[in-house]
C-alpha cells in the first residue's frame, strides 16, 4: 500500500479507492434491493447513501424499519453500530491536526471503515497526506456506493447474482490485505488476534450492533496495557527511558525494520 511516487494526486486517490469501489458497488446494490423490500422508497434509499454513507448503519436502518420498529429505537441502533466511527475519527486526528477545521470536518464526512483503513495505513507508512488524494478516495468510493444503491433500488430485478464475480468477498479481501501491514510487531499481532476473536464472540452471543466498537475498545486497551507493562518491567527499562508518547511510534519503526 505504499504511495506511488509516479501518480498524480487524483490518480493516487482513485488507485486507493478502486478495491473499495469494487466492493461498494455490489454491497450498495444489495442495500438498494433490501431498502425497497423494507418499504423504503427508492429515491429515499439513494438519499440515505448520499447522506449517511455508512453500510452497516443503513442496513440496520432498513431491516428495523421493515420490521416496524419505532423511530427512537432505530436511531439508537444506528448510533450504536456507528460508535466505531468515533474511534476511527479520533485515531486519524494525530496526523491531520495541522489542517483547518473545515477541512477536517469535510474529511470526516467521507469516513467509512474502508476509507479509514486505506488512509490510516498510508499515513502510518509515512505518507505526508495530500488533500486531493484524500477527498478523491473518499468520494469516488461514495459515488460507487450511491450508484450501487441506485441500481439496486430502481432496477434490482435486472441483476441476478453478483456471487459468480466474487464481489461479495471484495471488502473482506481488502481488509485482510490492510490488516497484515498493521501487524508491525508481535504486540500488534496479539492485539489483532485478541480483538478478532472478541468481535466474533460478541457477535456469536447476539451483540451484532455492539461487537465492533466494544471489541476495538477492549483490544486497544489491551495493547496499551501490554506496552506499558513491558516498558515498565526492569529488563526493558534499561533500553527505554520511559513510556513516552512516542514509544509506540518507535515500536512501529522497529517492527518495520525487523
Amino acid at each position: 500500500m505504499s504511495p506511488s511516487a509516479f501518480l498524480s494526486p487524483v490518480a493516487e486517490g482513485l488507485r486507493r479507492g478502486l478495491p473499495i469501489m469494487l466492493g461498494y458497488l455490489p454491497v450498495g446494490f444489495a442495500f438498494g434491493v433490501l431498502a425497497v423490500k423494507n418499504n423504503i422508497p427508492p429515491a429515499l434509499a439513494v438519499g440515505m447513501s448520499v447522506l449517511m454513507f455508512s453500510g452497516s448503519g443503513q442496513f440496520v436502518f432498513a431491516s428495523l424499519w421493515g420490521a416496524g420498529a419505532n423511530a427512537l429505537s432505530i436511531i439508537a441502533a444506528v448510533l450504536i453500530v456507528n460508535l466505531r466511527y468515533l474511534l476511527q475519527s479520533a485515531a486519524e486526528t494525530p496526523w491531520l491536526s495541522a489542517l483547518p477545521r473545515l477541512q477536517r470536518f469535510l474529511l470526516g464526512l467521507g469516513l467509512t471503515d474502508e476509507t479509514f483503513a486505506v488512509q490510516v495505513t498510508a499515513l502510518q507508512q509515512g505518507w505526508s497526506y495530500n488533500l486531493t488524494t484524500l477527498f478523491v478516495c473518499n468520494h469516488s468510493t461514495q459515488l460507487a456506493w450511491v450508484s450501487g444503491t441506485g441500481i439496486g433500488a430502481f432496477c434490482g430485478e435486472l441483476v441476478r447474482d453478483v456471487k459468480p464475480l466474487g464481489l461479495d468477498y471484495a471488502l473482506t479481501a481488502m481488509f485482510l490485505a490492510l490488516l497484515v501491514p498493521q501487524c508491525v510487531s508481535r504486540l500488534h499481532v496479539v492485539v489483532a488476534l485478541f480483538t478478532a476473536v472478541l468481535s466474533i464472540a460478541f457477535r456469536g452471543v447476539g451483540m451484532s450492533q455492539w461487537n465492533i466498537a466494544l471489541a476495538t475498545v477492549i483490544g486497544a486497551s489491551l495493547g496499551v496495557w501490554l506496552l506499558r507493562r513491558r516498558d515498565h518491567s526492569p529488563r526493558v527499562c534499561s533500553v527505554h527511558t520511559s513510556a513516552d508518547p512516542d514509544t509506540n511510534e518507535r515500536e512501529i519503526q522497529r517492527g518495520r525494520h525487523v
Binding site: 478495491p19 422508497p41 429515499l44 440515505m48 447522506l51 449517511m52 455508512s54 448503519g57 436502518f61 423511530a71 432505530i74 436511531i75 444506528v78 456507528n82 466505531r84 466511527y85 468515533l86 475519527s89 479520533a90 485515531a91 486526528t93 494525530p94 496526523w95 491531520l96 491536526s97 477545521r101 470536518f105 470526516g108 464526512l109 469516513l111 479509514f116 483503513a117 490510516v120 456471487k163 464475480l165 466474487g166 471484495a170 473482506t172 479481501a173 481488502m174 490485505a177 490492510l178 490488516l179 497484515v180 501491514p181 500488534h188 492485539v191 489483532a192 480483538t195 478478532a196 468481535s199 457477535r203 461487537n211 465492533i212 476495538t216 486497544a220 495493547g223 496499551v224 506496552l227 514509544t247
Partner: protein
C-alpha cells in the same frame, strides 16, 4: 415538496435522526480534537485503534459465512482468507493480495466447489 406526502413522515424523521447518528460520530472527533496535543496515554491508545478495528471487522466477516458461525472447510471465505493472509505476509503487496483472494473465490464458485 408536493410529493412529500408520498413518504410517511415517520420515515423522514427517523432518517433525519439516523443521519445525525451517523455523521456526528464521523466528524466530531476530527473536527474538535487537537490530535497533536492529546494526553500521551490517549495517543498511545489511539495508535492501537487501526489494528484493533480492522481485526474486529474482518474476524466476523471471515468466520460468519452465509449468516452462520462456520469454522469448517465448508466456509469458502475462511478457506480463501488463510492463504490470502500468508500471501499478504510474504508479498506485502496490497493489490496482489486482493486479486488473489477474489480470484480464488471466483475459481471455487466457477468449478462448483462452493
Amino acid at each position: 415538496m408536493s410529493d412529500s406526502s408520498a413518504y410517511p413522515s415517520g420515515l423522514l424523521l427517523c432518517l433525519l435522526g439516523s443521519v445525525a447518528a451517523t455523521l456526528l460520530p464521523k466528524v466530531l472527533p476530527l473536527t474538535f480534537l487537537k490530535g497533536d496535543s492529546l494526553p500521551p496515554l490517549l495517543r498511545q491508545w489511539l495508535s492501537f485503534v487501526p489494528v484493533a478495528v480492522m481485526a474486529a471487522l474482518v474476524g466476523p466477516d471471515v468466520f460468519f459465512y452465509e449468516g452462520q458461525f462456520n469454522a469448517s472447510t465448508s466456509n469458502l471465505f475462511l478457506m480463501v482468507a488463510l492463504p490470502s493472509l500468508l500471501l499478504a505476509w510474504w508479498s506485502k503487496n496490497y493489490f496482489l493480495t486482493i486479486a488473489f483472494g477474489l480470484g480464488l473465490v471466483i475459481l471455487a464458485r466457477a468449478t462448483g466447489m462452493y
